[in-house]
C-alpha cells in the first residue's frame, strides 16, 4: 500500500501532464495543494482529500439541518455551511400550504432537526431545501454526531465498507448528511452511543491506515460490554 502523504497549502505536488482535481490548483507548470489533506493521484487527476474545511453545498446532497428561524412562508435552516438554507412551506406542505390555516411554528420550531435534500443552489442565492423524498423530513429520535464534512468519504469507506460495518455491528440506522451531521437511530441508547464513539474515532484518525480494522475491534469490544 502506498504511504498516505499529508500535504499542505502551497505545496508543489506534481509537474507535467496532469489535471487539477479537488483542492488543487495549477500555477506555472506545477500543481499545488490549496488545503491540508492527503494527496491522491488517480489516472492523471491530482487531488487533495482535505482534512479540514466547511461544507460547500451541492444540488442533490442530503444534509441534516437545524431550524433556526421561522418566517411567514419559510424556515431558515442552519446546515453548517457558509450559507444558511431555506425550506419553503410550500415544499413541506406539498404545495397545499395555506398561510391562514397552516402554522409554521407549530410544524417545525427553532431547534428542530431535519433531514433534507438540496434542491437548488448557485453563487447568487442561498441553498433551497426539499423534504419531499424517502427518508427526508423532521427528526424525532436518535442522536446526531458531527464529523468534518471532508471526512465523509472515510466514514463511507471503499464501496461502503466502513458505513456497512457500523450499521451491521452497531445495529443502527445511520443517515449521513453531507454537511457533516450524522443521524444514528438504534433500538438501545448504548448501541447509538457505540456508533457515535466509532464516528468520533474516524474523525480523529481519518488519515491513518488500518482504520477499518481498528473500528471493527472497537465495535466488537463495545458490543460485548453492551451485552453484559
Amino acid at each position: 500500500m502506498v504511504e498516505r502523504r499529508i500535504v499542505l497549502p502551497g505545496e508543489l505536488l506534481v509537474e507535467g501532464d496532469y489535471q487539477p482535481g479537488l483542492n488543487v490548483f495549477k500555477y506555472g507548470g506545477g500543481f499545488y495543494a490549496s488545503k491540508i489533506g492527503v494527496l491522491s493521484i488517480v489516472k492523471q487527476t491530482v487531488s487533495v482529500i482535505a482534512l479540514h474545511g466547511v461544507y460547500e453545498p451541492k444540488i442533490g446532497d442530503v444534509v441534516i439541518g437545524k431550524i433556526i428561524d421561522v418566517g411567514t412562508f419559510s424556515w431558515t435552516v442552519d446546515i453548517k455551511s457558509p450559507y444558511t438554507a431555506v425550506l419553503n412551506a410550500s415544499d413541506y406542505f406539498k404545495g397545499r400550504f395555506n398561510p391562514v390555516k397552516d402554522s409554521l411554528i407549530k410544524t417545525l420550531k427553532p431547534g428542530d432537526m431535519i433531514i433534507a435534500q438540496i434542491a437548488d443552489f448557485d453563487r447568487t442565492k442561498n441553498p433551497v431545501l426539499t423534504v419531499q423524498g424517502s427518508g427526508l423530513g423532521g427528526i424525532t429520535k436518535g442522536v446526531i454526531v458531527e464529523l468534518s464534512p471532508s471526512k465523509i468519504p472515510r466514514l463511507i469507506g471503499r464501496k461502503g465498507s466502513m458505513i456497512n460495518l457500523l450499521k451491521k455491528e452497531g445495529r443502527c440506522d445511520i443517515t449521513i448528511g453531507k454537511n457533516g451531521l450524522i443521524h444514528i437511530v438504534g433500538e438501545k441508547p448504548e448501541d447509538e452511543e457505540l456508533v457515535a464513539q466509532a464516528i468520533r474515532k474516524i474523525e480523529k484518525e481519518a488519515h491513518t491506515m488500518g482504520l477499518t480494522d481498528r473500528i471493527m475491534k472497537l465495535m466488537r469490544k463495545g458490543r460485548e460490554l453492551n451485552v453484559n
Binding site: 499529508i6 499542505l8 497549502p9 502551497g10 505545496e11 508543489l12 483542492n23 490548483f25 500555477y27 499545488y32 490549496s34 488545503k35 491540508i36 482535505a50 482534512l51 479540514h52 474545511g53 466547511v54 460547500e56 457558509p82 450559507y83 444558511t84 453563487r123 447568487t124 468534518s148 471532508s150 480523529k204 484518525e205 488519515h207 491513518t208 481498528r214 475491534k217 472497537l218
Partner: protein, 236 residues
Amino acid sequence: MSTEFIRVDGRLPDQLRPIKMVVGVLDRADGSAYVEQGNTKVLVAVYGPREIHPKHQASLDSAIVRCRYHMAPFSTKERKTPAPSRREVELSKVIKDALSQAIFLENFPRTSIDIFIEVLEADGGTRCASINACSLALANAGIPLRDLVSSVAVGKYKGHIVLDLNDEEDEVAEADMPIAIMLSLNKITLLQVNGVLTEEEFKQAFNLAVKGSMEINRVQRETLRSIYASIKGEED
C-alpha cells in the same frame, strides 16, 4: 554581513528569536493558532467563510476578508488603551491585504472570512507574528489557500542589518522593514519600510528577510504536519 556583531539579547544579526507555533488552540473558532516569537505572543481566530453582517458589505463574486489587529491593554510597557489606535487600524489593513492574496476568495461569494488577532504581549515584530499565526489559522480552518504566508521583519540597528528585531532594538533602530511572502509562488504580499535605507542596504535587508521567512515557513509547515504525525503513531 559582519558576523562579529552580537545583539542585545545575544543573537547574531541573521538569527531569529525562538519560535513556538501551535494550531487549533481555540475550540469555538473555525481555525486558530498561537504564535510566540521571542516574547511576542499572538493569538488568532478565524471564523468563516460565513454569512456576512451587515449584508451590504457582501461582494457578489467573492468572499471578503475582515481583519482586526488588536493589542491587549497589558501587552505593552505602558497600559495601552483598548480603543483602536491609528497604528492598529493601519496594521489591520496591511495584514488583511497580506493574507487576502493567499485566499481563494472567489470560491465563497457573498460571505466573509473574519480574522481576529489579539496581541497578548508585544516585544517587536507583532505584525509578522500575527501574519504567521493567521496563515496557520486559515489553513487550520480548511480555507483554500494558494500558499502559507510567512512573515518576518528586518531592520537596521546601530548600522547593522539584523533579522527579527525585538522591542528594545526596534525602539532605536534606524529602519524597520516587515515583509510577508508566499514562498512557493515567489510573491511578496506585504512590504513596508519604516526608516531610512540606501538602495544597497535595502537589498541586503530584503535578502535577509527572504532568508528569514524561509525558516519561519519551515516551522509553520512542521507545526501543521506535526498534528497528524502525532496521531499517526497512535495505537489502540
